[in-house]
Symmetry: C2
Subunit: 333 residues, 2 copies
């Protein structure tokens, strides 16, 4: 089969790769579409723990099951998405030490076929196109856990989502609205992304590159009860400053790096909670897929590239031009 | 009456002060003993919000009720402790914006008499001496909320308490043991304090001034589930590093200042929670007093000074020589 192979740091190439025999209880999926994640980009740049070469990256995908080993072969011919969790373990509160994510070290979805344990497969919600379905797994799971499980979002909460346009941030926005959110603020470094978010229903959009951006959120809503942040960095203390008493800040990433001089006084005086969140349990994944199907949520696709155009696709991610997920179309149904 | 008056920053003096009329629903308490808190020291140094001069400091005290205005005068002649909360409000999750603490702006317990609303009074648990009772309110309330309400401590948790010897840290230790703690580590900058904590039952005592102190806790218990920290500062990332997956770090103070370069990656990857805690609600106060009475917990008194010896008492607090609470004895029963 054809696959996008990471041979060394910054060294990607499309190559022929042979498929091994399918282990017992596994399924072979012919990929239709896959989605890019920042995780893939960090691995390409060599900034990830325990990178192996060569590797096939890709944690997200939608495809057709072409083979299953084991008794229940009912999924053959069905359109599926793949739960990217591997070995989360039995503790809902955190993943086990054996936990990995599909696509390095295990072969991922940037290929014509991917082999995974059959219990990783979920039927694709019917209202989704192949590209929309491919956009869902990793970012949808991360957003679902951040907003509902770790963040404990309720419709009474004033919600702040930073960095709107990123995959997780957009799912957080869509999920919160589906759950009845009434007061949602978003931030971005690009005003056109704020406009797009307002079209999606955001009540307040703030350019975080302007002085005093946090005051705008305070004026609009008096602060926030729950923030979902994948940025951290220098601006983080602004979130601490405008959090309402007993506010929660869920962090799921740190694209702006660590937080210099964390303002701990405000954290204890206001009884705030800073809550870490990564990916989500297998139960969280099932809940998320059910939620998307029930509310007929359509993941936002930024752009679609052929597998061979991977360089353009990653460039779009790197340049932070995307609003929604960047998709690789691998094959037609 | 005689009172210890803060006239300006760093300017304390014992002076005569007249008592005003007692408002309806208030009680007058003849003070027997009061306890020092770091809060008093910060106010003396001018490092607190909205300081007023002159002020009578003191948030903790035990005394005898000598007068009550209103119908229920049953407390007259009884020994009481005072809930230092004022206007916490109706939200258990956080104090209201009107919240203050007894002793600046309202006149506090470093005086022969203090006037407070009668609903601030609790009967002193009978097993406590006057000094032990005076030691309890502010630090006991802070520890109770940090450990049980914000920290959600259960006996299965491995617990780390930093800065043992401080009032809150010692109550946290005593409360956790009363609740069935089986694995408790403590840190201090003084080895004799670690020895004292081990006599109280701590399983592991670590000198945080030694290189690699955190590795000792990892070796002993594999990390911690819950840390109760009043320090923050440079060492905070060590707590983040040795927290077990889904670990919680409750912060109730920051004697070492803000945290430079918070390690957010570990926070989200390990699904950690940093939880702010200050004081506690009125319900928390009642629960704490009941808990202390039920388990016959004896607050640890470091030293007792006469009111006139206040300079020596504050010097002991400043020099961090204390193990337990520093008490001012104001009158005999």
């Amino acid at each position: 089969m054809k696959a996008l192979i990471l041979r060394a740091p910054h060294e990607l190439a499309i190559q022929e790769q042979s498929l091994g025999p399918l282990p017992e209880g596994w399924a072979r999926v012919r990929m239709l579409a896959a989605a890019l994640n920042h995780r893939d980009e960090w691995i390409i740049q060599g900034q990830y723990a325990k990178i192996r070469y060569p590797s096939i990256l890709g944690s997200d995908g939608c495809g057709i099951v072409v083979d299953v080993t084991g008794e229940d072969r009912s999924l053959i011919g069905k359109r599926v998405i793949i739960n990217p969790n591997q070995e989360w373990g039995s503790d809902e509160r955190a993943q086990s030490s054996a936990y990995t994510i599909l696509g390095m070290p295990s072969a991922g979805t940037f290929a014509e076929y991917v082999d995974v344990p059959v219990h990783r497969l979920h039927r694709t919600p019917e209202h989704l196109s192949d590209e929309e379905a491919a956009a869902l797994p990793l970012a949808g799971l991360t957003a679902y856990r951040a907003v509902f499980v770790q963040g404990g979002f309720t419709p009474d909460d004033t919600l702040l989502i930073t960095g709107i346009g990123g995959g997780v941030a957009l799912f957080a926005l869509q999920f919160a609205f589906a759950a009845g959110a009434a007061s949602v603020a978003v931030t971005s470094g690009a005003s056109w992304k704020l406009d797009r978010a307002k079209e999606l229903g955001a009540h307040c959009g703030v350019l975080y590159t302007t002085d005093g951006w946090w005051e705008e959120i305070r004026r609009a809503f008096g602060g926030f009860d729950l923030a979902v942040d994948g940025t951290c960095g220098e601006q983080f203390n602004r979130l601490v400053a405008i959090a309402k008493p007993a506010g929660r800040i869920v962090i799921y990433g740190a694209t702006a790096g660590p937080v210099p001089m964390l303002d701990v006084h405000r954290i204890f005086w206001k009884q705030l909670r800073i809550i870490g969140s990564t990916m989500g349990s297998d139960d969280n994944f099932s809940q998320m897929v059910d939620f998307v199907a029930r509310h007929r949520i359509k993941p936002i696709v930024d752009s679609v590239y052929a597998l061979e155009e991977y360089e353009h696709a990653f460039a779009r991610l790197r340049q932070r031009q995307q609003f929604g997920k960047v998709i690789l179309r691998i094959a037609e149904r």
